[in-house]
Amino acid sequence: MSRLALRIVSIAAIFSLLLVACQPAAAPSGGGQAAPSGDQTAEACTITFGAAVSLTGKTAKEGGYIKDGYELYKDEINKAGGFKVGDKMCQIEIKYYDDASDPDTSAQLTEKLVTEDKVDLLLGPYGTNPTFSASAIAEKYEIPMIEGGGAGLKIFDRGYKYIFGTLPAAPNYLRSVIDAVKAKDPSVKTVAILVENDGFSQEVATGAEAYAKEQGLEVVYKEQYPSNTQDVSSLITAVKAKNPDMILGAGHAADAILIMKGLKDQKVNAKAYAFSVGPTSPDFRKTLEKDADFVLGIGPWTEAMKFQGSDIFGTPKKFADMMRAKYGEENYKTVPYQAASAAAALLAYQKAIEAAGSTDPKAVRDELAKLDLQSFYGTIKFTPEGIIVKPMGVVQLNPDGKVYTVYPADAANGEFLYPAKPWDQR
């Protein structure tokens, strides 16, 4: 019995070795290299991208935004003819797997995409941890991965060459919130930070804490709570005892909602409430209704921003309208930045592939590193580590039910309401 198992395992091992050995030879054929062809008319070809995205599990929601962003870009570019590779026009395809928000699964599925499905290039998952592990696979096979869903510095500080991210680095996330509040009210003094104990949120919080101190603020409370927490009442009690001017949350959407409910339950009044993730997702307003008023969120991208590019979307507004046209008005009242950062990943690929004239992973990677592009997403340009160079905007959920960009001033399309109204006067 065990000998039989051993034999099966060794046969499987040999097969997988063979597969890996064949890999470099197989890759270019799938990629549609710009082979010289007598026929001048565009030849049909397909570029396949692979992505393991969280469609179930804790970050299913955000993973869904990422997928929707990829899909919109795919459909629109295919309608417009596809990617220009050399003298051919190639349609694009995306192969998805559900990583269930789990980093290990994400890595396994990414490996499967490379070795079994033989995709040409990789797109990223959602979340710092899945991206951290999936990008290691991309590096191992030397296939580029552009991701629009992971912002943790730890993804980029390993000296990897094949990972590129379209979200600003986590430590910068809440900086613009502090800037925005300071600009409105120079007398603001104290800040409390509630942190989910995952790597990404900790980087956000550490960055925010350092910046707050630099700006002369006093951090009166900074504590972590476990991921998947269902009760934050005692954190709220502790925060209330510190009576902070500003309450910052570094976590995910479900936590932000739980914290806002807790703040109202215990009537904790601060002048400003802000969360790294949450307020920009449509669920935040839907679940909290009026209690979401005045809350600040951040985004590398909002539809109010005034970017201009020559891509298929052109402007943020156009991208948002197309999202609504494709997925329904009610689902994308506010278009979350994750959808845009995901679409921007494919846009970066398009430009790099066109510049390289092939889908050869190394050539595409080198073009990505050189990329400097004006687009609906703003400037797309990567640091040597692979992180996009990009400031964050601040948005506010207005009592009129809409979301306005309130900072920086040149992108603002609404008034920054400050301080937030106390709970018992709403």
């Binding site: 504590e223 972590q224 476990p226 479900a254 009537k267 679940t287």
Partner: protein, 297 residues
């Protein structure tokens, strides 16, 4: 200042105890009577939450009034699950039922994901977040607050817990359930139809989980996967309090809440670690739990 802190923390502990008691009660009964670690429990809580959500969002029914509906539907579902699936492996080792309920949980969660999507849902009524200021001055951020919804949830949880206690101790059905839990062969000899008893026990547990789901739905946001955490909480609470009686569950829930709230005040990152550390200590020092007995009595 610290008086406020202590007062609010005491309120937090009491409010949390109520919801967690009702969330763990059904889990404890199934474990005690049927010797099954029921991993479907969290999924049942989740379904209860969605029943309340749907009734509220589409029919405008007040969430508190949806609790009987949620309990009735989950009672039916629990009955079907036991009769249709679990009954076939009742005499199998614990690992079999463990794996079976694990699989069932995944099926239910994925079905829920298919129908409800993974959107975060919450029930926001006109009185959501309104609270009673016990003392202090709310405008200065110095006060002890009791949110009405959580107070209502506590009262309903206490009511249902007391009702379950009466049912288990003062009715023929309750005696049959307890007798079956103690010795199924002897119970059968004295006339208890153990198939029916098991099905009703499981259904009763599911109904309680449904009620818990309805209550939880009013106080937090949820999506199809949220119940798993409550299965875990229920497990810890039942081990802490011990198997064997309704009050033991309440004691377990109280200890769990106390630890959660106290750790949450000083080192919130360690709340779950603290709860599980306590679990380990209890298992080593008093394996039957703080108030545990051999059977339901």
């Amino acid at each position: 200042m610290s008086g406020i802190l202590i007062g609010q923390s005491a309120v937090n502990v009491l409010l949390l105890t109520g919801v967690l008691t009702i969330a763990a009660l059904g889990f404890s009964i199934v474990w005690g009577v049927m010797n099954i670690i029921n991993l479907v429990h969290g999924a049942t809580i989740m379904l209860g939450a969605y029943v309340t959500y749907i009734a509220f969002a589409f029919a405008g029914i007040d969430p508190f009034l949806t609790i009987p509906l949620s309990m009735a539907l989950m009672f039916g579902l629990g009955y079907l699950i036991q009769r249709g699936v679990i009954n076939y492996v009742m005499r199998a080792p614990m690992l079999t039922t463990f794996l079976l309920t694990f699989g069932l949980e995944i099926v239910i969660i994925n079905l829920a994901q298919f129908f409800f999507k993974s959107d975060l849902r919450a029930i926001t009524t006109g009185y959501s977040g309104a609270s009673l200021t016990l003392f202090g001055d709310a405008t200065q951020n110095v006060s002890v607050e009791v949110p009405y919804i959580k107070l209502g949830a506590l009262i309903i949880a206490l009511f249902l817990t007391a009702l379950t206690h009466l049912l288990m101790n003062n009715t023929r059905l309750g005696r049959a359930i307890r007798a079956t839990g103690m010795d199924k062969d002897a119970a059968q000899l004295t006339g208890a139809k153990i198939g029916t008893v098991y099905a009703i026990t499981f259904a009763l547990s599911a109904a309680l989980a449904g009620a818990a789901g309805s209550l939880i739905a009013m106080t937090q946001s949820f999506q199809p996967g949220f119940g798993g955490t409550y299965t875990l909480y229920a497990f810890v609470i039942v081990v802490l309090g011990g198997l064997g009686s309704v009050p033991a569950v309440a004691i377990g829930a109280f200890v769990f809440s106390l630890i959660t709230v106290l750790t949450g005040l000083w080192q919130p990152g360690l709340t779950q670690a603290a709860a599980f550390l306590l679990l380990v200590v209890v298992l080593v020092v008093k394996p039957s739990g703080i108030a545990g007995k051999a059977f339901y009595q």
